[in-house]
Amino acid sequence: MANVVIRTHIPMYIISIISLILLAEYFVAFDPLAAFRKEMLTWGVIIYNFVTLLGSVLMLRFHTLRTMKPPSRDPKARYYSIVAIAAFFFYLAIGWGTGLTGTQYVTMYMQTVIPATATLWGLNLIFSTMGVYRAMRITGLEGLALLIGGLSYFLKEMPIVASIFPPITGIGDWFLLYIMTPAGRVAVLTAALISIVVCLRTIIQRERTAVV
């Protein structure tokens, strides 16, 4: 019982009280509340940094354990983990040695991480081509809507189409403004309303997903 109180009840009370104060500060101009919010922001930064550090430690722990005992279904996982650990310490050494703003670190980052992620991103073109070929079929009203919406945006982004048929930019913008914006707004407003509900449920201690 004591364990449950420590692990769930106390964090829930802390969340509720802090959320209430932060909410009140938004609507009431009162200096002590503003000072409290500022203090909370500083605490937030400290906790965020600690979580980043904790994440690195957990990642190292995971890969070290996997190096020592790889999963039976994937024995090669050991080698991937060794690469991950080696890359971690290599970056750490260069970053520590030359500083995160040093030419070596920046050059290394720009010549390894950026091309690798850009290649993965570039492969998207091939997978998107496959996906579009299968998805953009007028099998019904939804398919037609997807096709019109997708093509209007797609064509407006292509200079070759705009140079052959200049009004496509305006047509694409029209779809963006009058068809896609309302749809986007519905999504944003729905997400915002859900956030409010979750916040209120957290304050009244009905939402426990943050601590359970």
């Binding site: 500022k38 922001l41 500083t42 937030g44 930064v45 965020y48 940094n49 980043t52 995160l100 703003t101 670190y105 920046v106 980052y109 720009m110 991480v113 950026i114 992620t117 850009a118 993965l120 991103w121 570039g122 073109l125 091939i126 998107s128 081509t129 496959m130 579009v132 070929y133 299968r134 953009m136 079929r137 007028i138 099998t139 096709l147 093509l151 945006y153 797609f154 064509l155 407006k156 982004e157 292509m158 200079p159 070759i160 705009a162 140079s163 200049p166 496509i168 930019t169 694409g172 913008d173 963006l176 403004l177 896609m180 914006t181 986007g184 707004r185 944003v188």
Partner: protein, 283 residues
């Protein structure tokens, strides 16, 4: 059991993935070998970005929150560098902040590429790179209230009190605009929540990957962002505006032909779909 023979429609409906991949790759590589150099279409959001950036008074200060790294960086690097070039050419001071840790190196690369010396922009006087400041939304809110209370040194470790620009710039009161390069479809929300909600008078100009445009457009229509550059096409518009087509224009050129197989496949897919439907009905 006999295997049902495939009709032409079936074959067209099921083109092997390797063939699609080769087609996409071939069309992608042609403009790399021989650039087409077609004029870039300027959409309304990009036109607004260009319009509003001209409204920033010379000699004033802007804060530039930069989140992009990895693949996203390729999408916006043209907009990032051309924006810096334009701001420096108009003697507008820029305070650059990396919102995420991996945006630090891209900032340094982008600043060097934009070449501040060319515009007579001096570090510490006309621009400052504060590097990565942790905290994400908490940081964005804290910077709005006071930079000196949030961070004490710049990216090189120089105390802010020793940097001339930072003696005159500290909070939202000192900025005439905020420029944001955000990384995901919800990352711009924090700038709306923490800056626009409290200080809507400070114009926000955004740039992002083209995949995020569907999320950004609502905020542009609502006036939270005065304009935005979406992906390489939007960024190429900014490059065109300053008269220096470069990083984004190259990618836009590649998109020209690479998109053609996709269009052709959409047409083939639909013709085959209806062809098969018709042939079934006839039989």
């Amino acid at each position: 059991m006999t295997k049902k023979e495939k009709t032409t429609w079936d074959r067209l409906l099921d083109i092997p993935q390797w063939a699609l991949a080769i087609a996409a790759f071939v069309f992608l590589i042609i403009p790399v070998l021989k650039p087409l150099g077609l004029p870039v279409p300027v959409g309304a959001p990009a036109a607004d970005y260009v319009k509003w950036i001209q409204e920033i008074p010379p000699g004033s200060n802007v804060v530039f929150f930069q989140e992009m790294s990895g693949s996203g960086w390729d999408e916006i690097k043209g907009g990032y560098t051309s924006t810096l070039k334009y701001l420096w050419s108009r003697k507008i001071n820029v305070v650059i902040i990396a919102t995420y840790s991996d945006a630090g190196p891209t900032n340094i690369w982008g600043i060097n590429y934009a070449n501040p010396d060319r515009f007579g922009a001096k570090y510490g006087e006309n621009y400052v790179n504060l590097g990565y400041i942790p905290g994400i939304e908490v940081m964005v809110a804290a910077v709005r209230d006071s930079i000196s209370a949030t961070v004490s040194v710049d990216y090189l470790g120089t105390p802010l009190k020793d940097i001339p620009l930072m003696k005159t710039v500290d909070s939202y009161k000192d900025f005439s605009a905020i420029i944001v390069s955000f990384s995901s479809g919800t990352d711009m929300d924090k700038y709306v929540r923490q800056w626009y909600a409290t200080h809507p008078e400070i114009p926000q100009l955004w740039m992002t990957a083209s995949g995020n445009e569907m999320s950004a457009v609502s905020y542009w229509v609502g006036g939270m962002a005065k304009g935005y550059l979406s992906g390489p096409t939007g960024c190429a518009a900014m490059e065109g505006f300053i008269g220096e087509p470069g990083l984004a224009a190259k990618i836009t050129d590649m998109k020209n032909l690479a998109s053609i197989p996709t269009l052709v496949l959409v047409v083939i897919g639909n013709i085959a779909y209806f062809g098969k439907k018709l042939s079934r009905r006839e039989s």
